[in-house]
Amino acid sequence: MPEVEIPVEKWTGQVKTVKLGGGGRKEVVIGGQTTLPFLTFEGTIPNPPKIAIEVQDKEPSWPAPLLSAWGDAVKDTANWAKKAAELGADLICLKLLSAHPEGGNTGAAEAKAAVEKVLSAVDLPLIIIGPGVAEKDNEVLTAASEAAKGQRVVLGNCEEKNYRTIGAVCISDGHVAIAKTPLDINLCKQLNIMLSDLGVQNDSIIMDPDTGALGYGIEYGYSINERLRLAALGGDAMTSFPIINQVGSEVWRQKEARVGEGVPDEWGSHEERAVIWEEVTATSVINAGCDLVVMCHPKAIENVKATIDKLMGK
């Protein structure tokens, strides 16, 4: 019988290890791999990919499959976070959407209150995302940072225009920064370098290179994840931070997840389609190198969690 010689890559790099939580809160560690996703025959994966569940600071305007799955819990941020923890979230991703100029334009005080609510409702590590408008992000994330001081939360997003403020806040309060760039590996690396130059430590950066949902540019996110991970394993220090992808909010913006009526019969049942959309998007970016997916639908979360376990050989 022929003896097939299995080719093994000799990677020289390693994904950086980032610890989240602590300070009385559960601790979650991401990163640390010395191999491509789930290829344990040529390296180690000390920390399998984690799932953060999205929670918002106001009642969401969500499509039916999400609202029916979550029920009344989403009417209150604290209850929402508690239910997310019960569903097996590794982390909670709190989105301060009401601070958006067109979504309520709330300020620092409201942000602080929302963060405190979630911090006292659950003992999981927290990711806190601003409304995505640079000035408001600076305002509410600074307040959020103070409220969560010592609990090592993740603050995002640092973009090119506001990385200085949020990066500085992360340094002073001991938090982790998300470096967010729009689907471009070079911009991603550049922002990581700028954050490092600012003084944010290597163990305090995770990167969001962005992704589209299935059907809406997932191929870009997929390839950027793969390229970043290959570069990291090849020894490029400034691409070797753990990767976070906002899967849930990308998927649930799209028609396939949102719309139940007036679509072709070939699209099948609404809920089934929407859940498949989210889980296929999530597992695809995970297979491409994502370390931390943020998700929305309980059933998709359960299935992706099970998939990660199976890929880890559990």
Binding site: P2, Y216, V280
Partner: protein, 450 residues
């Protein structure tokens, strides 16, 4: 292994005759090794050299054709591990399994549903690729009946699944002309299956009970018998083993040029899954990670839509973005008073603006200009999105006849085109929309008074 330029050079006449249009034989050899020229350009290469070079020039993963006619499945010929390196060539074939234990009614219904399944994406229609008929009963007569039933109702390619050479032989007598894939030769039946593959000139799948050693032994045996149109099944079914094994097979084929596994891989996510969702996720993994044929057990329209979409996304040329067919698109059910917006045919640009218009509750007319798949600013700076092109599209699509107003909204990023567009479209009022698609809802609320 692929030959290096120096290895190729040994087979060349070394006369530097320049008839190949290269200055030296060595230069020609280097170019040949890089794949930039055909060996035929050298008139003096020896027969021995030709044979050696032909062997080395073989694609690392063999191209296999299943079925015949327009709808035949082509798989294999892949050249990269990652899609950013170079395009994945032949999209994963999605095949639906029918069991010969299903009732005749169920079979007829499924064949009909799968056969006519088609979804529109980016202005094109995509469907499923074939049927696998499984001799689950173990009974040759039932198998023949099922094969006949499916075959009579479809012109899609077939995979015949039985390890019983007798049952397979009978089925092939009936449908061999359609060049179905014979699944599968195992270590227990390979001699008979090879005979059938030869007799009917059909592609053959080889299945290992476990591990690549057994698989390589079987494919080498097949190749020695002259049967080289092979598809391989390494026998792995679960998530982790499949990912590892299929990655190893792709690496062995591409990096080591290890011929015994240089064939397309057939996969069975339904056998590694307990639930519909699990099958969907595992099938998606196979589409991304090195499955050439995916046999689906739990067919549903939603599952098919997701897999077809993922396949379309991952198998696009990374250098060439997915493009919309240019034209006039209706967002929701626009009326004659609805807004007319202009955009480019880069799929993501289209999806962003279409999604925002729809999300914000504005039925609209969207004029999609042919910018060769570039986004608004990129197309503008490349000279592919100008007033002339916009005007031509607006006129060509007869937009004026669809609406009662004459207002057209430009993307804010190309506000600079307003003046020229006013000249090109003198009957129209040119409005300048927001720079970001996200702001279009607010913009229309403020500015659309019709």
């Amino acid at each position: 292994m692929a030959l290096t330029g120096i290895q190729i050079y040994k087979f060349l006449p070394k006369t530097n005759c320049k008839e190949c249009n290269f200055p030296t034989c060595l230069a020609f050899a280097m170019k040949l090794a890089a794949g930039g020229v055909e060996l035929a350009a050298c008139p003096y290469v020896s027969d021995e050299g030709k044979a050696a070079l032909a062997a080395a020039a073989k694609p690392p993963i063999k191209l296999i054709i299943i079925g015949d006619g327009d709808k035949k499945i082509e798989v294999g010929n892949e050249t990269v591990m990652f899609r950013h390196e170079k395009t994945f060539v032949h999209p994963t074939a999605l095949v639906v399994r029918i069991k010969d234990t299903d009732s005749a009614d169920d079979v007829a219904k499924k064949v009909d549903e799968v056969g006519k399944y088609g979804v529109d994406r980016v202005g094109m229609t995509f469907g499923l690729d074939g049927f696998a008929i499984d001799n689950a009963s173990g009974d040759a007569a039932k198998f023949l009946q099922a094969v006949d039933a499916v075959n009579s109702k479809t012109d899609l390619p077939l995979v015949l699944m039985s390890t019983d050479p007798g049952a397979m032989g009978q089925a092939l007598d009936k449908v061999a002309a359609k060049k179905p894939l014979i699944y599968a030769a195992t270590k227990d039946n390979i001699d008979q299956m090879l005979e059938l593959a030869k007799k009917h000139s059909c592609p053959l799948a080889v299945r290992s009970a476990g591990g690549l050693n057994e698989l390589a032994e079987l494919t080498e045996k097949a190749a020695a018998a002259g049967v080289e149109n092979l598809v391989i099944d390494p026998g792995t079914r679960d998530f982790a083993d499949s990912l590892v094994t299929l990655t190893q097979i792709r690496r062995l084929a591409l990096q080591k040029r290890y011929e015994p596994v240089g064939y397309p891989v057939i996969t069975f996510p339904g056998e590694g899954a307990q639930t519909d969702e699990e099958e969907a996720v595992l099938a998606a993994q196979y589409v991304a990670k090195y499955g050439s044929i995916v046999v689906i057990d739990r067919f549903s329209p939603a599952l098919a839509l997701a897999l077809i979409t993922l396949r379309l996304n991952l198998y696009t040329d990374p250098q060439k973005p997915i493009q919309m067919k240019p034209g006039l698109y209706q967002i929701g059910e626009p009326k004659e008073t609805s807004p007319v917006c202009v955009t480019t045919n880069f799929s993501l640009t289209y999806f962003s603006i279409a999604g925002e218009l729809e999300g914000a509750g504005w039925p609209s007319w969207l004029v999609v200009c042919d910018t060769e798949g570039l986004s608004v600013l990129t197309a503008w700076s490349a000279g592919k999105f100008d007033a002339e092109k916009i005007a031509k599209t607006v006129k060509g699509e007869n937009v004026a006849e669809k609406v009662s107003h004459h207002n057209v909204i430009l993307p804010g990023g190309v506000a600079v085109l307003r003046g020229e567009l006013e000249e090109e479209l003198p009957d129209w009022t040119i409005m300048v929309g927001p720079r970001e698609a996200m702001a279009v809802g607010g913009y229309l609320k403020e500015n659309w008074k019709n």
